[in-house]
């Protein structure tokens, strides 16, 4: 009365691989469609220089979106990435301007990012508040701290040596792109190969089951927010390296782009689901779109329209290629 399951034994595995690739394939198709459309409409869109531009312009959002993806997988959301970046930027920048050695300043920036993430994580995991509201509150709080710390003024005159760290290039790619690629690789390994990655998926997928299985729920969530804070700080370092200045209002609305990239890439805001590859593709979709619309000289109102419609279209493509959920 038992062995009926025999013949289904191999099926689920094939199905799993199939669905796995389908997932990111949906996003990839979205990207290819968008690239093809712009390639056809914009001369020079496929120039090597422009493709590098797209990567470079996507790199900061990709960096944030990777952290966001981990938080989203854990069942949370981090609206405070922009202000976290701003706070860590102005603090490290003012250290740099005061002559503190680069490594120390950079490490301090990361420490600030981690601390911001820690606070978010503790409020979510230990106090049990809703992630959306916690990070909405810290969104204002961190921004205010950055403004108060600087009196609202930009921190100017970052040392050239510091800037060159982030402005170099490697194998013909801007260093920022290389750094984010490395971060993506690490995130991919974390998610696919480490216990922490499993914990994230488990906590976001079924928190009670994860607890009963002995997964350290609070630590997992807090770590996700801290990574998000850390990557926000890294994005801030890349940016102030490029800009040569740190502003307290830096990172305005970054959270929306990062969430959009993660969602286009297949992360579910219900938790338990998300893909590093997908998120990177999502960030490049958004970057390519901005770049292409600019090169086409589309007026800003229509760019806004296109942004909205492309987010919807990407989700639709995704939905069609991937199935519900």
């Amino acid at each position: 009365m038992t062995d009926i399951s025999e013949n289904t034994a191999t099926r689920p595995k094939a199905d799993f691989l199939h669905r796995f690739s389908m997932r990111d394939a949906g996003t990839l198709i979205g990207l290819i469609v968008i690239l093809a459309v712009f390639g056809a409409l914009v001369p020079g869109f496929f120039a090597e220089r422009n493709l590098i531009n797209i990567l470079q312009q996507s790199s900061i959002n990709a960096c944030l979106a990777l952290g966001m993806t981990l938080v989203i997988i854990s069942g949370g959301i981090d609206l405070s990435v922009g202000p976290t970046a701003a706070l860590s930027a102005v603090i490290s920048a003012s250290m740099l301007v005061a002559g503190v050695p680069f490594p120390l300043a950079i490490v301090s920036s990361f420490a600030v990012g981690l601390a911001c993430g820690l606070l978010n994580g503790v409020l979510v995991a230990h106090v049990g508040l809703q992630p959306f509201i916690v990070t909405l509150g810290t969104l204002s709080t961190y921004r205010a701290l950055a403004l108060i710390y600087t009196g609202g003024n930009p921190v100017l005159g970052l040392p050239a040596g510091f800037r060159s760290i982030f402005n170099g290039s490697l194998f013909g790619l801007p260093l920022a792109v290389v750094i984010v690629a490395v971060v993506a690789l690490v995130a991919w390994i974390i998610l696919k190969k480490t216990p922490f990655g499993e914990y994230l998926l488990a906590v976001g997928g079924n928190e009670e089951a994860a607890y009963i299985a002995g997964v350290p729920i609070a630590r997992t969530k807090i770590a996700a927010y801290m990574i998000s804070g850390l990557l926000a700080a890294l994005a801030a370092q890349i940016l102030i390296g490029r800009l040569g200045a740190a502003e307290p209002i830096l990172g305005n609305l970054w959270e929306l782009d990062a969430i959009a990239a993660a969602a286009i890439g297949g992360a579910s805001l219900m938790g338990g689901k998300g893909s590093v590859v997908g998120t990177i593709l999502g960030a490049v979709i958004l970057g390519a779109m901005r770049n292409g619309l600019t090169l086409m000289n589309v007026q800003s109102f229509y760019q806004l329209l296109a942004t909205g419609l492309i987010i919807l279209a990407a989700m639709l493509i995704d939905r069609v290629t991937r199935g519900r959920g």
Partner: protein, 507 residues
């Protein structure tokens, strides 16, 4: 020598509920100890204390005579306790092996998850129970029964000193229980103390030497099962004698539901059946034979790809459950928690959900009428405790089930479809639900009961359809009804051979 496991004066208070009251008993090494009691008696709460999910309000747990602090699941695991939870505690998106090793993954160098090694060890643990389960498959692709087996196999991985099993067979068929029984006996032979909770008394009598019976959070008695009858155990659980009721038929000759050539895109092929007024039609079959899917087609929750449905001679088409409900059909689903209840809402709200049109004829809910009907229907199904405004999630499974039955009574449903109506429900409540189904039939309702428990089908059904591979393999009337007859039709001929020579050939 001190017993392997001892509960000493355990009490547990929840807000407004005393779930456990001074529970003490012990289980020796190598003993398989049954834990019996009605829904809400406190069995799961006790085991959750043992596995570190809850902390006792008073009392302590001793292992090998030493008091242990079980503050969380990790501590319990470290103390040598493995637990199979009543509710499946799994992450559908992770693989079978990842679920089995969740919380304590095998690693390479302490950094990377050793997937291959995990899958190999998982396959070993699964081999004794169901070797067909692929450890690399995502858990979500498995059927409920297979998921339950994975849950059992997970507990075996730990090589624990104490294994607690909270209704491990609620989704399993008798033959799967047979294999589990072998595994449990093996554990006991190795000196493991096993605590076994089940509402299926024959299982408990089959493998346990002793059992503790609980009622209302306290221990009634710990008994040697060889010395007591099933009947007296039931009496201890329920606190009174349960009359053994016999099947009675109320079927009439009027065909109410007539199905011809019904098929779904996936699992159901060419099903035809008739259902009469006052009739209870049983549907039996193996797991995966398509029973649930057939009910879902009839209830309009899935779309049929071909075939016709007639009610009282009129052809109907369902584009969703609303149409089926309007036609007088209601489904009491298999997975109560996922498909049945809205957990935060009250009993009354859950009951009224399918009949809002009745309670709000002019767009605004007539709460007085709603209250009256809720009181009436819930009295009818004997809801306990009788608290109509309390969120349904705080009720026991049996009482949740009663509220869902009440939902269809309130909606004036004439055709009731039950999918595994007594899964996870205690003997007392089970008898009540059987009684209720018979009363409904007597009143002229037509009832379909899908069940994997053959005694249940035989107890209730006027007529039984046996399904195999998505189609009706046989129709048995009461005269020809027996467990053997059903099994003979349910099992495909080729597999019968395998079945006979398989590891489960105990008995």
């Amino acid at each position: 020598m001190s017993p392997r496991l001892q509960f000493a004066g355990i009490s547990k208070l929840f807000p407004a509920v005393r779930a456990l009251d001074d529970v003490s008993f012990s289980v020796g090494a190598g003993e398989i100890h049954g834990l019996l009691g009605e829904n809400g008696a406190g069995k799961s709460t006790l085991l959750r204390i043992l596995s570190g999910v809850y902390r006792p309000t008073a009392g302590s747990v001793l292992i090998d005579g030493q008091p242990v602090t079980l503050n969380n699941p990790v501590a319990a695991r470290a103390a040598g306790v493995a637990m199979i939870h009543q509710e499946l505690q799994q992450v559908p998106r992770l693989s079978v092996a990842q679920n089995m090793f969740l919380g304590h993954p095998l690693t390479r160098g302490g950094i990377f998850v050793a997937r291959g090694e995990q899958e190999r060890r998982a396959a070993e643990a699964l081999a004794a129970l169901d070797p067909s389960i692929d450890p690399a498959a995502p858990l979500g692709s498995l059927k409920v029964a297979q998921r339950q087996i994975v849950e059992i196999a997970r507990a075996l991985l730990d090589r624990a000193r104490i294994v607690a099993m909270d209704e491990p067979t609620s989704s399993l068929t008798p033959s799967e229980f047979e294999r589990l029984a072998e595994v449990i006996v093996g554990l006991a032979r190795d000196g493991v103390a096993v605590v076994y909770v089940s509402h299926k008394l024959d299982e408990v009598f089959g493998i346990c030497k002793r059992a503790t019976i609980m009622r209302d959070g306290g221990v009634v008695d710990s008994v040697d099962l060889a010395q007591v009858s099933e009947k007296s155990v039931v009496a201890m659980m329920v606190g009174r004698e349960l009359a053994q009721e016999q099947h009675r038929s109320h079927a009439t000759g009027d065909v109410r539901l007539s199905v011809r050539g019904l098929a779904s895109a996936t699992k159901v092929h060419d099903v035809s059946l008739n259902l009469n007024r006052g009739e209870v039609l049983g549907i039996a079959g193996l797991v995966g034979s398509g029973r649930t899917e057939l009910l879902r087609l009839l209830a309009g929750t899935d779309r049929a790809s071909s075939g016709t449905i007639e009610i009282d001679g009129k052809a109907v088409r369902f584009s969703g459950p609303r149409d089926a409900i309007a036609a007088g059909i209601g489904l009491v689903p298999e997975e109560r928690k996922r498909e049945g209840i809205v957990p935060l809402r009250s009993i009354t709200s859950n009951m009224a959900l399918a009949s809002m049109g009745v309670f709000a004829p002019r767009g605004v809910i007539d709460h007085r009428r709603l209250k009256r009907v809720a009181a009436e229907k819930m009295k009818r199904v004997n809801l306990r405790p009788f608290l109509l405004d309390r969120p349904i999630r705080l009720f026991s499974g049996g009482n949740q089930q009663k509220a869902i039955i009440g939902r269809w009574l309130a909606a004036g449903t004439r055709i009731l479809l039950f999918d595994e109506p007594t899964r996870g429900i205690d003997v007392g409540a089970k008898a009540e639900i059987y009684h209720l189904i018979e009363e409904l039939a007597a009143e002229g309702h037509s009832v379909v009961v899908v069940s994997s428990e053959l005694p249940e089908v035989i107890r209730l059904a006027d007529r039984v359809l046996v399904m195999r591979d998505g189609t009706v393999a046989a129709e048995l009337d009461r005269a020809s009804l027996s467990e053997q007859a059903i099994a003979a039709h349910a099992i495909p001929q080729t597999q019968m051979q395998v079945g006979k020579t398989g590891p489960q050939a105990r008995q």
